[in-house]
Amino acid sequence: MKIAVCLKRVPDTEMRFAIAPDGKSVDPTGLKFEISTFDEYAVEVALRLNEAHGPGETTVIGIGPDALAELLRKALSMGVDRAVHLTAAEVPYDSLAVAQALAAELKDGGYDLVLFGRNATDTGSGAAGAMTAHLLGLPCVTAVAQLELAGGTGTAKRELEGATETVSFPLPAVLTIDEGIARPRIPSLKGIMAAKKKPLDVRPAQLGNAGVVVEKLELPAERQAGRIVGEGADAVPELIRVLREEAKVL
C-alpha cells in the first residue's frame, strides 16, 4: 500500500519554555523539538501496515523550516521510505491553511491511506486531518485506536466518551491516530545510517491564508498556592470543611 503520514515538528513537550519578546510565540532559545507524539504513532502504524500487508511504500510529509529535515530523517530511520519537506519559515496556527498545503501535495500521490496524529501536542486543535480529508474528497475516520485492513476496506475502533465505536470505511481514506495503537519503534543504528540515502524531496509549502491568528501567548495564571490541610485520616474532617465552606464544591 502507498501510505502517507503527515507529521508536525513541535517543541519537546516536557521542557519548560518562556514566551518570546513578541508576546505571541514561544522563545526558541534552548528549545528542543520533536515529532508530535500522535504523529509518531501514525508513523508506526504505517510501518506496521506495510510490514503486515506485503510490499508497499511509506512517505512522511511535513511543513516547516530547515530544522524539520532532521525530524523527517528520524522517520526515515524508523523505516519510512521517503520524505517530503514542504518548506515554510513558520507553520500557521490555522489548520485550514496547513490542510491546504498538505492537500496540494497529497492529491496526485495515489495514496491508499493518509495518516495524521489525533492532534498536535503544541496547538492541539486536531483539525488538520479531517480538513485535509475534505479537501481531498476522501472519507475520514478520526481518533483511531485500533485498525485492521482487508481488501479495500478498513475497520477502526474509536473511543468516544463512555463508548467504543467500530466503523468500517473504504480505501483510500484519511485516518487520525490515537494513542495506544502502537508504541513507536526506536530507530536502529542501521536505520539511522540508511536514512541518509533515502529520498527527501524539498519544495515550498503552498499554504492557504490564515483565518485564525495568534494574538497573544501567555503563561497560565499561577494557581493560587494551595495548602496541606493536615496529615493522615484525621485531616479528613478539615478537608470536608474547606471543600464545603471555602471552595463550595461539596
Binding site: 519554555f17 466518551e161 494551595g226 470536608i240 471543600l243
Partner: protein, 329 residues
C-alpha cells in the same frame, strides 16, 4: 444583531450534557452582539425531537431537528454537510460545537466545508463588535493562546466543562428538516457501538473526578476509588498513564497529555505524584485536592488542598465523610 449556531450533540436518543453547554455559549454570543437568534441543530434517529426540546431552556430560539432512521449512530459526514448547510442558510455569524470526541471530528469538517478556519477546544470566548476572540490552552496546557478568528462564520469548538450550561429560557420553535446529504451515501459506516457500562459517568461529563495513580499499589485497590466515586454520586474515576500502561485501568480513563483533558469542578488525585504529563490533563480543574504520602510530591504544588498520609487510611475515611455529607443533603 447576529445569528448564532449551536450543534447539539445527541447519542443514544438523548442529548448529551455538552449540547446544553454549546447552546448556552451560542446564547451568550448572541446576547453580546445585540441579541440575534440562536439556532440549535439536532440530528438523530426517530424520536430525537422530543429530547431536543430541552434546548429552549438553554437559550435556543429555534431548534432545527433532523430525524432519520439512519441517523441513530454517529454520522459525521451527514452531520457536517447538514450543519454547514444550516449555518449558511441562517446566516450565522458564529457556529459553536463541543470539543467532545465527536465534536473534535465534526467541527473541522464543517469549517473545511465552509472554507474557514477553526478555533478548537476553546476555554473562553468574547465577541466584541465584529471581532471574535477566543482563548485556548496550548503546549499541553503550559501556555494559553488568545486567538482572533477572522472570517465568517467563526467556527469554534468548546472544551467540555469550560462554558457553563447556563439556563436561559426562551420560547423556542422547532423546524423539522432533512439531512443535507442522503445518509445512505455515507462512506464511513458505524457497525457497532460497545458501551462501557450504561450507568458509568464519563470523565467529560462528571462534575467530580477522583483519579488514582501508582500509589494505589495494585489493580484491586482501585475499588477504593470506585467507592469514593460512588459516595459522591456524581463522580467518575480517572487514572494516570502509569496505571493504564500497566493495564490496571482502561486507557480511555487516562487523564493526561496524551489522554483525556478534563475540567471538573472538583478533582481529587489519590496516590498520584503529579508528573507533568498528568498535570497537563487536569490543571484547569476548578478545585484540586491531592492525597499522597510524600509531602514533596509535585502534585501538591498545583493542589488547592492536600492531605499528606497513607491513602489506604485516608480514602476510606473520606468516603465515609462524603457519604455523610451527601445523605445530610
Amino acid at each position: 444583531m447576529a445569528n448564532m449556531f449551536a450543534f447539539a450533540e445527541a447519542r443514544g436518543g438523548q442529548l448529551r450534557k455538552v449540547a446544553a453547554e454549546t447552546v448556552a455559549a451560542a446564547r451568550q454570543a448572541a446576547n453580546a452582539t445585540g441579541g440575534g437568534q440562536v439556532y440549535a441543530l439536532v440530528l438523530g434517529g426517530p424520536g430525537i425531537r422530543e429530547a431536543a426540546m430541552i434546548l429552549g431552556g438553554y437559550g435556543a430560539d429555534v431548534v432545527m431537528v433532523v430525524e432519520h432512521a439512519d441517523l441513530g449512530h454517529d454520522r459525521p459526514e451527514v452531520w457536517a454537510a447538514t450543519a454547514a448547510a444550516r449555518i449558511r442558510d441562517k446566516n450565522c455569524r458564529a457556529a459553536f460545537f463541543s470539543a467532545s470526541a465527536e465534536g473534535r471530528d465534526l467541527a473541522p469538517r464543517v469549517a473545511a466545508i465552509l472554507g474557514v478556519g477553526l478555533a478548537a477546544d476553546v476555554t473562553s470566548f468574547e465577541m466584541a463588535g465584529d471581532v471574535v476572540r477566543v482563548r485556548h490552552p496550548v503546549y499541553t496546557g503550559k501556555a494559553i493562546a488568545t486567538l482572533r478568528v477572522e472570517g465568517t462564520p467563526a467556527v469554534v469548538s468548546l472544551r467540555p466543562g469550560a462554558i457553563a450550561a447556563v439556563e436561559e429560557s426562551r420560547t423556542c420553535s422547532v423546524e423539522s428538516g432533512t439531512p443535507a446529504i442522503d445518509p445512505g451515501t455515507a462512506k464511513v459506516v458505524v457497525t457497532e457501538v460497545g458501551s462501557r457500562g450504561a450507568a458509568k459517568l464519563d470523565l467529560a461529563d462528571a462534575p467530580v473526578i477522583v483519579a488514582g495513580g501508582r500509589g494505589l499499589k495494585a489493580k484491586e485497590n482501585f475499588a477504593l476509588m470506585e467507592d469514593l466515586a460512588a459516595a459522591f454520586g456524581n463522580a467518575a474515576v480517572g487514572a494516570t498513564r502509569a496505571v493504564t500502561d500497566d493495564g490496571w485501568r482502561d486507557p480511555a480513563d487516562q487523564i493526561g497529555q496524551t489522554g483525556r483533558l478534563v475540567s471538573p469542578q472538583l478533582y481529587i488525585g489519590v496516590g498520584i505524584s503529579g508528573a507533568i504529563q498528568h498535570l497537563a490533563g487536569m490543571r484547569t480543574s476548578k478545585v484540586i485536592v491531592a492525597i499522597n504520602r510524600d509531602k514533596d510530591a509535585p502534585i501538591f504544588k498545583v493542589a488547592d488542598y492536600g492531605i499528606v498520609g497513607d491513602l489506604f487510611e485516608i480514602v476510606p475515611r473520606l468516603t465515609e465523610a462524603v457519604k455523610k455529607v451527601r445523605s445530610e443533603g
